[in-house]
Symmetry: C2
Subunit: 146 residues, 2 copies
DNA sequence: AATGGTGTAAATCTAAAAATTACAGGAGGT
DNA sequence: ACCTCCTGTAATTTTTAGATTTACACCATT
């Protein structure tokens, strides 16, 4: 019911692939070490990104490479790839209001009106941030804290 | 790590109080029946709304009434009252990236750059929706589905 | 064929959210 | 003054979603 930590792991992995993808064989074990996340979970995330076309994974022998330009990858695209209906899960709704109460009967429809707007706004916000921006933040921070 | 179902329960309760607060004694048991949520949880939610000044609760004898005009109550205010730092919990971050990896070492700072923007955008979005809007949605839906 | 990867399913563990139980204390009606 | 109905809140248990672990089939390269 939120933007999952999977999303931040995905970003971490993408930075890793971007920075080291051409000099090292980026495997799920390596990404697991860097992120602190279990290799199976990494493989699931990587697999989602692959299905979306963001990256390529060499089967059998392993190794991951970027498949897009950094400015073609928005945060929205990453979130969507990881969890297709993340937007509808963002806001929790109490599941069992009383159908006998006029408010309980209609509350889900009422909440939908507002929640749809919020969800749309969030998606727009996520579309405004690209992987290019993130890479640039990374380089800046890496420089500042060296 | 998401906008909690508590928020939707709070909205449900506020509609209830707005519609019936002056003709009935709105107790936590009544709200529990209408929302399908445990009365203790209701009391916690109501208590948070009270502390923010959105509603008043008569001690001892019970009964809840609105304390503000509907257009003074934004969704942002409700979320904030229920869970003061909801915005920072909205997006999950993997907690233990490797400090030995240049990316792992900096990933939290990098994510903060983008996540701060998203969080701000979301708050703006929440500020744009008032309880007045929600009440109007409710009346419209109640009319349409009668 | 051996090695070192991926892809996935199934079971287990974990941690956050919610429900339950319990009880002290206030206000109003009788 | 007492009884009843309510709130406020702490402590415990239950539930559920997420993540981890285990296990194994399958694929390329050497």
């Amino acid at each position: 019911m939120h933007i999952s930590t999977k999303c931040s792991v995905a970003i971490h992995c993408l930075i890793f692939v971007f920075e080291y993808g051409d000099t090292q064989k980026v495997t799920s074990d390596l990404l697991s070490l860097s992120t602190g996340i279990n290799p199976v979970t990494i493989r699931k995330i990587i697999s989602s990104l692959k299905k979306d076309g963001i990256i390529s994974v060499k089967f059998g022998t392993g190794g991951t490479t970027l498949n897009c330009l950094p400015n073609e990858i928005t945060l929205y695209r990453i979130c969507k790839a990881i969890e297709p209906n993340f937007a509808s899960k963002l806001i929790g709704v109490h599941p069992l209001p009383s159908p006998l109460c006029p408010i309980g009967k209609n509350i889900h429809k009422v909440l939908d009106c507002s929640y749809q707007k919020i969800s749309n706004d969030l998606c727009e916000s996520l579309k405004n941030i690209t992987f290019e921006n993130i890479i640039s933040d990374y380089h800046k921070i890496q420089h500042d804290y060296k």
